[in-house]
């Protein structure tokens, strides 16, 4: 029989390739919203991806369909990784249809994350919109683990509607901690919603922070991040203390293919988290 020309993905030759995914098995699937699931995956064998830093992302490979860059929403020392995925395209639709026991390929972690350690000793303002909360979740838990190292911590989380809020139970738990403030707001709601309604920037005047000693992490739709950063800088937070997680069409994730180029940067390699000081000029450029 002629040797197969298709490489065995578990072979050592393929395993050493920078684009080769490592097989992970889906252990748990939690529905966040009608089109968004949180997957808990763990290595199928002893091979696993390195431990990630808050704000990094993985490339998730759905065998036979394709690959998609998904932010890392959590993990543990045993190698479990948490990803929250919204069905918006062919790959993510497939990822949201995975069930426990299914296999998914993982390569990563990639990119530069949130400067959580550098923010020690400062107030921290975390602003998330929609699926911008999952990339911030590991940073939030990192802060919880060293809570005494930070000053005031405030989280503002906005979504399209109440049913689009992810991690709803966790948000309630964060509120109950008593050592941080959590504000949630939605763009529109029915009469059964008694929380805030409006865009996230409307909640900023209600926060209490000392601008000069505040670091802000912002993640969400690009226009929301731009407006939020402008508002925070107008309130005195230095642009270099405002950090934004950019999203672009990532393919190789190792700074080779150029798909995610944003001005002089490759988002996969130089980001996804970048300071507003560096991003502000580019965010003014149309269709960059």
């Amino acid at each position: 029989m002629a040797a197969s020309r298709i490489a065995d993905p578990t072979s050592s030759a393929v395993a050493g390739h920078p684009l080769a995914p490592i097989p992970y098995v889906v252990r748990n699937v939690a529905a966040e919203t009608p089109d968004t699931n949180t997957l808990t995956i763990e290595p199928r064998s002893t091979r696993r991806t390195p431990v990630s830093k808050p704000g990094q992302f993985n490339m998730l490979y759905l065998f036979g369909v394709g690959e998609s860059a998904i932010s890392i929403a959590g993990g543990n020392p045993d190698g479990q990784i948490i990803h929250t995925v919204r069905s918006v395209g062919k790959v993510t639709q497939g990822l949201t249809r995975l069930t426990p026991g299914d296999t998914v390929g993982v390569r990563g972690p990639y990119g530069r994350g949130w400067p959580v350690a550098e923010a020690k000793g400062r107030d921290l303002l975390i602003v998330a919109g929609g699926l911008g909360l999952p990339p911030l979740r590991p940073a939030i838990y990192e802060v919880f683990r060293n809570r005494e190292a930070y000053g005031r911590v405030e989280i503002i989380y906005g979504a399209r509607s109440p049913k689009d809020l992810v991690y709803y139970d966790e948000l309630q738990g964060w509120r109950r901690r008593g050592d941080l403030r959590v504000q949630t707001t939605v763009d529109a709601a029915g009469r059964d919603w008694y929380g805030d309604v409006g865009v996230v920037t409307q909640r900023i005047p209600d926060t209490r922070f000392e601008a000069a000693r505040t670091t802000a992490f912002v993640c969400g739709p690009e226009i929301m991040m731009k407006l939020t950063a402008q508002d925070l800088v107008a309130r005195g937070i230095p642009p270099e203390s405002v950090w934004i997680s950019m999203e672009r069409n990532m393919k190789c994730a190792i700074g080779m293919c150029g798909h995610c180029q944003f001005g002089p940067s490759f988002i996969c390699r130089d980001g996804p988290v970048l300071s507003y000081r560096d991003l502000a000029p580019l965010l003014q450029v149309r269709e960059v």
């Binding site: 399209r160 707001t185 529109a188 009469r191 309604v197 409006g198 865009v199 969400g220 226009i223």
Partner: protein, 156 residues
């Protein structure tokens, strides 16, 4: 209303962020006919289409602004809380509310009379200008926020 109550209302309004820095006589003038009112959850502060001769100065609580049509449930498009003011229809003819306003938390407000406001703003142009310089950013911010909401940035 007793003089003591009137003085308390003037004091509360003067402390409110929207009125911060205004001339004391101006604030006192705006508070002629003002009353304090408390609304329980679900009580309506305004009903779309009804006469609007009021500027609410929100002191405590939360108010949902709602719009809707006969073919769909009413939708909350904004909430207003302490430090904010509610209502501009007293200034804009034909002085009818353009939305519903419903308390979603126990809410305490000072109710300023629209007729008094129009009179004082028109007879004291300097104060009128100061008021509009303070009022326009509120309207502009709400317009900008509405535009962002219309963009449906969280949509697919």
């Amino acid at each position: 209303m007793t003089p003591a109550t009137e003085a308390k209302i003037v004091e509360e309004v003067a402390r409110h962020p929207f009125f911060h820095g205004f001339d004391a006589a101006f604030v006192e003038g705006m508070c002629a006919k003002a009353v304090e009112h408390r609304y329980a959850v679900e009580e309506m502060l305004a009903v779309e289409g009804t006469p609007a001769e009021i500027l609410y100065v929100v002191l405590e609580g939360k108010v949902a602004l709602e719009v809707g049509a006969s073919d769909r449930p009413r939708l909350t498009v904004q909430t207003v809380g302490p430090g904010e003011v509610l209502g501009w229809s007293w200034l804009v003819p034909p002085h009818h509310w353009r939305f519903d306003a419903r308390a979603v938390k126990p809410t305490r407000v000072v109710v300023l009379d629209g007729g008094v406001l129009r009179h004082i703003l028109s007879t004291h142009p300097k104060w009128g200008y100061q008021f509009m310089v303070r009022f326009m950013p509120v309207l502009a911010e709400r317009l900008e926020n509405t535009r962002v909401q219309l963009l449906d940035i969280h949509g697919r």
